[in-house]
């Protein structure tokens, strides 16, 4: 016995113990993974071995709401794989590097609504009694987690597809997550079982049957449909999605290109890929499938012409905001009663590059491989080059040509070394880093079982050193940019498509925004500094050095020539464009790393805010309460920036709502506890107010209200003319969410603020008017009139504007404060502070330390706010200002607009009740930076006035254009609807707002209210219907509460 124990001890100490895997419920957060997107919590399940660790969420149906996982952060239901990381030397106790948002099986868009999550017993079922032998890995075999449940809609808007194709009511859905010792992948076995008494066909309904249900989509009856099943990976904002072949890191646009060559149904359109992987810092992820006769894309091979369809092929129908669909399997044509169908996939965890994921995929497949490795060094100094991308292409053709096929991406370590497996064959490689010139392609061969080594040198970068001071000589936060000039090749379009010659998304290069105005300028690099000081490595070249500090400063430009291996230093003095006494600049919609779809570290977020001249930064991560204050302090920015904790409560289909200032609960893995799924709007708003520091004064803000799918007004079909919801008919009704929470009577006006301008979404500000002349038709009836608002058959605006809706609310006495925000998730091309809100906090208080968080909130509540992306647009009546009420039947409204020279205004408009234009005034060219106009208004009844200023100049490079059409969920719907006639849907119209454009100056004030007769301001139109205020519930008896508390024995 003692010998055995000694042997066991020796074995353990020498590390030769056989690796094991294990599955267990998490009893302490110290057992969880941790990391930027870790949301695993006590009660979830941990599956781990000697290589990797993953967390599968519990059902989410705990009795205690504080422990609930239902609608935790990303998707609605529990039972999904929420955290994943490598096993790390110091990564226990919740200090890992999980960057995965979520991974879940999808049956078209049906997901599992779990009734059980467990470590299964030997029979593969959840144990019914203690003491059963479990598949927990303790026997040296695989460890498993079983998730079993019914079908639930991930998106109500595509419930039609779920019902018609899957009909989940007849099915039991389950997934087994299986982990074997020593493996870097989780085997995922997903099963659908027919629990009905009859046969269950796939698709369940034929198109004509779907049509007979009343879902009358023209063309539906002519389609042949299919029922794809697979996985829905939400890889997270830190991860760059990759597919081998023509996609590379350009998956989003490669999918859109695949739509253009789609063969049509029954094969869903999308990109065929041999596997899916990602790239991230320190961890990466991948998905693959085994060879199978049930492979979805192989089953419909002829529908994917001109695409490489391998034995392991996956279909990517869309990727959006970090969410992707990966269709893998085709179920049998029918399942008899009690029959089931299973398909298998593998979820792989890598070191941070695609290559490490691909190594594992090749191991899973058991294919012969050789190794390819080497070192990368600076050709001038010989120093190793770390974090360089070694991109491997197939051996034929030019790797930089659009049709070139990429195989893998490996990243060099601190010693400049890289190593990876490849199938035998001929390849080429290039080496890329954003600060160096990409190398020429080099051929190499891989032989099975042999190693191929290379030593590669890359040209050195140049170094730029900048020191900027403001008008007081302070090293103020500032943005530094290098702006270059390009020559577009023929065929690049006008404006040229920079992706085709200036940078390659496919290679994983960063975007280099262009001026997008027919000029030839582009941004080579941009840095947001905390103190105006910069030392950066850049690609050699001749550039304009551009230093800026937001709209209150002029830009300073100097030409610099940067040679390889040398450095240039420049000192810059910033000049103030105009003073803003009493006003402070805030951005009330900012994302950073805690958001699933943003990979930006918080320190970079706060630096970027300060460098853009913001003085208030409100953290609004998706379903996560973040507080910037500690990072602002550690960054030395407390003298420049005030952080306010907040959240963007993010629903799938009901819109997004910001709230601030909020309490931060350090005991929660998401900063606070709330429920966003399946809640009517009032409940969402009530929760947000409950989370506020002060429930009475906390702000609830409606974000991008007119954005399709993501906007509250869009989803409730708010009529811009009445500011009230209506019930859509026709196709709009087919694609409307069906839940009770979406009933028109559930729409709530219990919000305090509305985003009037979000980022560069100028197209959402005003209702869309038909251009003059009209573009080529045909157009659906009613026929558009040039210059007039484009309307639908019911006479309502087809693309209603946020401002028109806000005006309608003002008419009816609902005083939500108009706000400007950026909704930034990144940096370059997604700059914070554009738009922003200028808030009047009081004369002499516009210095940090002189105003408080309460002053900011008071200013919002007092409507002393201007939405702007640069111009400061003030409006006064005598000594009254924006947000005030004046008395009189004749009032002189003074409009005063100031702007930096890079954002001149050329038009000022004054609106009043009903959105009527009191006057529109062209601004003389020499007054574009400082213009005053007095307008006499003579209302006959109580009224309001709002001023708006616009410019037509390009604000590049301070503010970048929208060059690439922003993808939104409507694209997904369109893609899934190929073959259907959706011409009557606004999104399908060929007459719609232009979504790519330069960025031009814009500002709009909040109102001054005019009380004509001095008897108090009366809304000019009948007030909005008020919801019956919920009576305060009786507060619970604490004695009864105490009696109801269980006593748990420790």
């Amino acid at each position: 016995m003692r010998v055995a124990a000694l042997l066991a001890l020796v074995t353990a100490c020498t590390g030769t113990a056989a690796p094991q895997s294990s599955a267990q419920r998490i009893g302490s957060l110290d057992d969880a993974i941790g990391g930027p997107h870790a949301i695993g919590r006590v009660g979830d399940f941990l599956l781990e071995n000697d290589q990797i660790r993953v967390v599968i969420a519990d059902t989410g149906r705990a009795a205690d709401p504080a422990q609930s996982t239902f609608g935790r952060v990303n998707t609605t239901y529990g039972g999904t794989l929420v955290d994943a990381d490598l096993r790390r030397l110091h990564g226990s106790q919740g200090r890992g590097n999980d960057q995965l948002a979520e991974l879940l099986p999808g049956f078209v868009f049906t997901v599992i609504d779990p009734t059980q999550v467990c470590v299964p017993n030997r029979q593969g079922a959840c144990p019914k009694a203690a003491g059963e032998f479990l598949r927990d890995g303790s026997d040296g075999g695989p460890a498993e987690i079983l998730v079993k449940g019914t079908g639930g809609d991930l998106l109500q808007m595509v419930a039609l597809l779920n019902t018609g194709l899957v009909f989940p009511s007849n099915l039991e859905l389950s997934t087994v997550y299986r982990l074997r010792p020593g493996q870097r992948w989780v085997e995922i076995e997903t099963t659908v079982r027919n629990v009905s008494n009859g046969a269950h066909p796939f698709p369940y309904l034929q198109p004509q049957q779907i049509k007979n249900l009343g879902l009358d989509i023209p063309g539906l009856e002519n389609l042949q449909l299919s029922t794809p099943m697979g996985m829905l990976p939400l890889l997270g904002g830190e991860q760059d999605l990759f597919t081998p072949g023509v996609g590379g890191f350009n998956v989003q646009y490669a999918i859109e290109d695949a739509y253009k060559i789609a063969g049509g149904f029954p094969g869903f359109p999308g990109l065929a890929a041999d596997f899916v992987a990602s790239r991230g810092v320190g961890v990466s992820y991948g998905l693959t499938v085994p060879k199978s006769p049930n492979n979805y894309i192989q089953a419909y091979r002829s529908q994917y012409p001109m695409q490489d369809v391998t034995d392991h092929a996956l279909l990517l129908p869309f990727t959006y905001a970090g969410v992707a669909a990966v269709f893998m399997a085709k179920p049998p044509d029918r399942l008899g009663p009690g029959e089931e169908f299973s398909f298998t996939s593998y979820f792989v965890i890598g070191d941070g590059d695609v290559g490490s994921v691909y190594d594992t995929i090749l191991e899973i497949r058991g294919e012969p491989t050789g190794t390819f490795g080497g070192r990368v060094a600076d050709e001038l100094t010989g120093a190793p080059v770390a974090a360089a991308n070694v991109l491997v292409f197939t051996g034929d053709g030019d790797p930089l040509a659009p049709g070139a096929k990429i195989v893998s991406q490996m990243e060099t370590d601190a010693n400049g070394a890289f190593l990876g497996k490849l199938p035998p064959g001929q390849y080429r490689f290039i080496i890329h880093r954003d600060d160096r010139v990409t190398t020429a392609p080099q051929p190499f061969a891989v032989v099975a079982g042999e190693a191929t080594g290379v030593f590669a040198q890359v040209a050195p970068p140049a170094t730029i050193i900048v020191a900027a001071v403001d008008e007081l000589g302070r090293h103020a936060p500032a943005k530094v940019q290098l702006v270059g000039k390009f020559t577009a090749p023929g065929g690049a379009g006008n404006p040229p498509d920079a992706r085709t010659f200036l940078y390659s998304l496919k290679l994983g290069e960063r975007k280099r925004p262009t001026a997008f105005d027919g000029g030839q300028r582009f941004i080579e690099g941009a840095w947001w500094t905390v103190d105006g000081r910069l030392e950066a490595k850049v690609r050699p070249g001749t550039y304009d050095l551009v230093v800026s500090r937001g709209p209150e400063y002029e830009v300073v430009t100097k030409q610099v020539t940067l040679k390889a291996g040398s450095f240039v230093s420049e000192a810059v003095a910033l000049k103030r464009a105009f003073a803003t006494p009493g006003w402070v600049a805030g951005d009330f919609h900012l994302h950073a790393a805690p958001s699933t779809d943003s990979g930006l570290p918080i320190d970079q977020r706060v630096a970027s805010c300060a460098a853009e001249g913001l003085e208030v930064a409100v953290a609004t991560d998706h379903n996560f309460i973040t507080d910037y204050a500690p990072v602002i302090a550690s960054s030395g920015l407390d003298g420049w920036l005030l952080g306010i904790p907040g959240i963007e409560l993010t629903t799938f289909e009901m819109g997004h709502f910001n709230a601030y200032p909020l309490r931060v609960d350090p005991g929660s893995t998401r900063g606070g506890e709330f429920r966003w799924a399946n809640q009517p709007p009032q409940k969402l708003m009530d929760q947000l107010r409950d989370l506020a520091v002060d429930k009475a004064t906390g702000i609830v803000q409606v974000n991008h209200p007119r954005q399709q799918v993501l906007g509250y007004f869009a989803q409730f079909f708010i009529d811009a003319a009445t500011a009230q919801p209506y019930t859509p008919t026709g196709l709009l009704g087919v694609f409307a969410p069906y839940g009770d929470e979406f009933r028109a009577e559930n729409f709530s006006y219990d919000f305090d603020a509305i985003e009037l301008l979000t980022g560069n979404h100028f197209e959402d500000i005003h209702s869309f008017r038909a251009p003059n002349p009209l573009p080529p038709g045909p157009f659906p009836d009613p026929q558009p009139v040039p210059g007039q608002i484009v309307v639908d058959g019911d006479g309502r605006a087809k693309f209603p504007g946020t401002v028109e809706t806000w005006f309608a609310m003002l008419d009816r006495g609902h005083r939500a404060t108009g706000m400007g925000t950026s909704d930034t998730h990144g940096l370059i091309g997604d700059e914070p502070g554009y738009a922003r809100t200028m808030l009047f906090v009081g004369q002499g208080k516009d210095e940090l330390g002189a105003f408080t968080r309460d002053d900011v909130i008071t200013a919002i509540r007092s409507h002393r706010a201007i939405t702007t992306n640069a111009p400061l647009l003030e409006m006064r009546v005598g000594d009254k200002m924006i947000g005030d009420t004046v008395v009189g039947s004749t009032v002189e409204v003074e409009i005063h607009v100031r702007a930096p020279s890079w954002a001149k205004v050329d038009k000022v408009t004054l609106y009043t009740t009903g959105g009527a234009v009191v006057g529109a005034f062209d601004v003389p060219a020499d007054q574009g930076t400082d213009y005053t106009r007095v307008v006499t208004v003579r209302p006959t009844a109580d009224a309001w006035v709002v001023a708006e200023a616009t410019g037509s100049g390009n604000m590049f490079p301070v503010l970048t254009p929208t060059e690439l059409p922003p993808l939104d969920a409507t694209v997904v719907i369109q893609a899934l609807s190929i073959g259907l006639d959706l011409g009557s849907l606004p999104i399908a119209s060929n007459l719609k707002p232009q979504r790519t454009h330069i960025s031009t100056p814009y500002a709009i004030t909040n109102p001054i209210w005019i009380d004509v007769d001095g008897n108090g301001w009366t809304p000019p139109k009948p007030p909005l219907p008020k919801k019956t205020a919920a009576r305060p519930a009786a507060l619970p008896d604490i004695r009864a509460q105490f009696d109801a508390l269980p006593e748990v024995s420790p």
Binding site: D64, R1039, P1050
Partner: protein, 188 residues
């Protein structure tokens, strides 16, 4: 609206919410004052600080026979929970008529917690005060249970948490006290 579920959910969050990983946490104490016509009930939730002293307490309790260990833990935590709190009328401390404690652990099982229900007879007087000697870690809320004792119009909002308050004050009306002088505490 203010009070809807606030008490229950806040108690649950404050007491059962697991700590984020990699941190140590100060003690958390919630105190809900319920004013009735003749009595005051005080519900105190308490989770001790993470760290050595709590670990030592747990070790000591676990080294004893189970019943004795539970009693030790219950007594120690009840004392810690109530120690900084003083309920008084016009400056005169009230003496509890009953103290009941329920013991539990947070989800991870690593930190114990207690919920203590203390009742007091409510004498007549001008001001009812709940003072905390450790305001930083104490959240106070209150509710009126048809007491007709508190001047509601002057009172802070019910069902809402007040952080960092050293002395929570309610103004009492003239009625009540004497008629209730002999009313016993409800026993459960």
């Amino acid at each position: 609206m203010i009070g809807r579920g606030v008490l229950a959910s806040a108690l649950a969050i404050a007491l059962a919410g697991p700590p984020a990983w990699g941190h140590t946490f100060p003690p958390v104490r919630t105190a809900v004052l319920q004013v009735e016509s003749c009595e005051v009930a005080l519900l105190v939730g308490y989770r001790p600080a993470s760290g050595r002293s709590t670990d030592a307490l747990l070790v000591r309790a676990s080294s004893l026979p189970k019943s004795l260990g539970l009693a030790t833990l219950r007594d120690a935590l009840t004392t810690e929970a109530l120690a900084p709190l003083t309920l008084s009328v016009d400056g005169k401390p009230l003496v509890p008529t009953s103290v009941r404690t329920k013991l539990g652990t947070e989800g991870s099982g690593q930190r114990p917690m207690v919920v203590v229900l203390v009742t007091y007879a409510l004498p007549s007087g001008g001001a009812l005060s709940l003072a905390s000697a450790d305001a930083r870690t104490t959240r106070i809320s209150w509710t009126d249970r048809a007491s007709h004792r508190v001047q509601i119009s002057e009172a802070p909002a019910q069902g809402r948490w007040y952080d960092g308050v050293a002395s929570f004050l309610l103004t009492l009306g003239a009625t009540g006290g004497p008629a209730c002088a002999s009313s016993p505490s409800r026993s459960r």
